[in-house]
Structures are given as structure tokens and as C-alpha cells.
Amino acid sequence: MAALNLSRLIVVAADTIATHAEELTALDQAIGDGDHGLNMKRGFEAVRSEAEAFAAKPLPEALKAIGTKLVMTVGGASGPLFGTLFMALGKEISAAPDRANLTLAFGKAIEAVAARGKSQVGQKTMLDVLQPVHEALLQGKTAAEIADDADAAAEATVPMKALRGRASFLGDRSIGHMDAGARSTALLVRTVAETVGESA
């Protein structure tokens, strides 16, 4: 990741979220409160507006600052969850991470998200994408394979019954819909994989 262009990555990520905002909202309307797309778009636009400032910082500081910005701007329960993911990643990652350091930091970040949401894998949440991505990193998979794994993992939340978040109020009726947070997580993973590419 020596050639990481964080400013460009932020712009591409914000574009991706904006492009898919309506899709995310539709997913969230099915089993949540229907604000996920709008919330994520607002947060990533806020990050985009300061992309150059974030990119000027060392990677750990940049990720922590992006996490804080997401906490303050995304809102809902997604703000603290996505914010915690980035803040925890920033705490553990080195300024020029190799695969081993990225994998370790990603694992720690997942633990932080699980603690923040008092959740675990299998409950139809973003963790159900993050965990398989971590495994793919551990297994040395390529960026393209990791992006595909993330999509498949999001797809795999469809038959799950929600046990956390607003969707859990629906019980069995949450079955048959993809989790919006899992989908947005997979979108971000693909964005990072395709932008950072094989050098990761």
C-alpha cells in the first residue's frame, strides 16, 4: 500500500456511496428505519469535503479523523459503528502497512465494532461482511477475490434472521432481505480493493 492515494480513495468511496444511496435506503426501508442510504451519503460527503486535509495526515491519524467525522455526521446507529471501524483501524494500523499489519489492524477493528454494537457474527449485520473479509485477508486472497467475498457475504445475510438493530424487532420477517449495513460494508470493501488494488 506504499502508493496509497487516500484523497482519491475518499472521493471514489464517497461516489460509490452516493451512487448506491437509494439502493441502501430501499434495503433499510424493508427491515429498518429507511435512513441508511441518506445517512451514509451525508457522512461520506462530509469526509469528501475534507479529503485533502485527511490525506495530508499520516494514515493512522487520517483514519481516526475520518472515523470521528463519520460518527459526527452519519447519525443513526451506523455513525458510531462505521466511525468505530475507522477509528479502531487507525489505532492499530502503521503509517505504511503491509498485508500482515493491515490484517491485524482489520481484525482489531472488527472486535471494536462488535463491542460497540454488542453484536457478533451471524446476527445479520455489517460484521457478517467484515469477518469473511478478514478471513480472506488472512488467507492471502487477491484484492479482486476479497471484493467478491464481500459481495457474497452481503448476499448471505438475506436468509439470516436479524438479531441486532431495528430489524431485530421484525423477528422472522427480517428473513429474505439483505442487511443494509452489510451491503454498504461490501460496497466500501470493493471500493478499497479496486482502488488500492493488488499492492495491498
Partner: protein
């Protein structure tokens, strides 16, 4: 003020304000009290910045007990406590209790000068375990 402060965090500003009203009328002015609710964009929701500001307004050296409604209010409150950071964070507790009953009972306890631990325990007694 030396009594424990109470913060009310609801997805709805109307619920939060109404709960605060009940505390003021039933318990009085002896307890630092603040509320927040809504997503900051006119809709339902909670947001971390508003919670941090409410904690500031209800701040007491004896500590602050936060009463929340649904899941996101709890997650955002815990995030707010973490962002406030030490040393204040260790004097702020997010209660596991029904928001209206919890706020009134916690404030009643706090108005008599009880410690943060006692105030939180009183709120927790209302929660089916």
C-alpha cells in the same frame, strides 16, 4: 450542583422533552438535567454531538446518568461517552432502564444526594433482567 446529573436521550425530541418535563415537575430543580432527541435534520434519531452537548449541560462532578430509549440511542450515548474521554468518562453511565420511569426514579434518587452508583442501581431495578 453536587447532585448527580441526568441526561435523557430519545429518538424523538418530543419524548425527550416530555420526559424532562416529568422529571422537573415530579422531582424539581435539585438535579442537573438535559435532554436531546432527533437526528439533527428534523427526523427521528439520535446524534453523538447533541448527546455530548447534553452531557455538558447536565454535568456534575458527582457524575451523570444517561437514560436512553431504543438501541441507537444507547450506541450513540456510549460513543459520546468515549469521545468525551477520561477523566470525565468514568463518571458517566448509560443506564439500562425504561426511559421515562428510569429518568424519574434516577432523578428522585439523585435529588437526595445519592452517588452515581446508587442512582444507576435505582434505574436498573426497573429493568426486567
Amino acid at each position: 450542583m453536587s447532585n448527580v446529573g441526568i441526561v435523557i436521550v430519545s429518538h424523538s425530541p418530543l419524548v425527550a422533552e416530555g420526559t424532562a418535563d416529568m422529571v422537573r415537575q415530579m422531582v424539581g430543580d435539585e438535579v442537573p438535567l438535559a435532554w436531546c432527541g432527533g437526528n439533527g435534520h428534523g427526523g427521528l434519531g439520535t446524534n453523538v454531538e447533541a448527546i455530548m452537548s447534553a452531557i455538558d449541560r447536565a454535568w456534575s462532578e458527582a457524575g451523570v446518568a444517561i437514560l436512553v430509549d431504543l438501541g441507537g440511542a444507547e450506541t450513540n450515548s456510549e460513543m459520546a461517552v468515549e469521545m468525551i474521554g477520561e477523566p470525565r468518562a468514568q463518571k458517566i453511565i448509560v443506564c439500562n432502564a425504561p426511559i421515562v420511569e428510569g429518568a424519574v426514579m434516577a432523578a428522585t434518587e439523585a435529588s437526595g444526594g445519592a452517588s452515581l452508583r446508587e442512582v444507576v442501581a435505582t434505574a436498573h431495578e426497573l429493568s426486567p433482567s
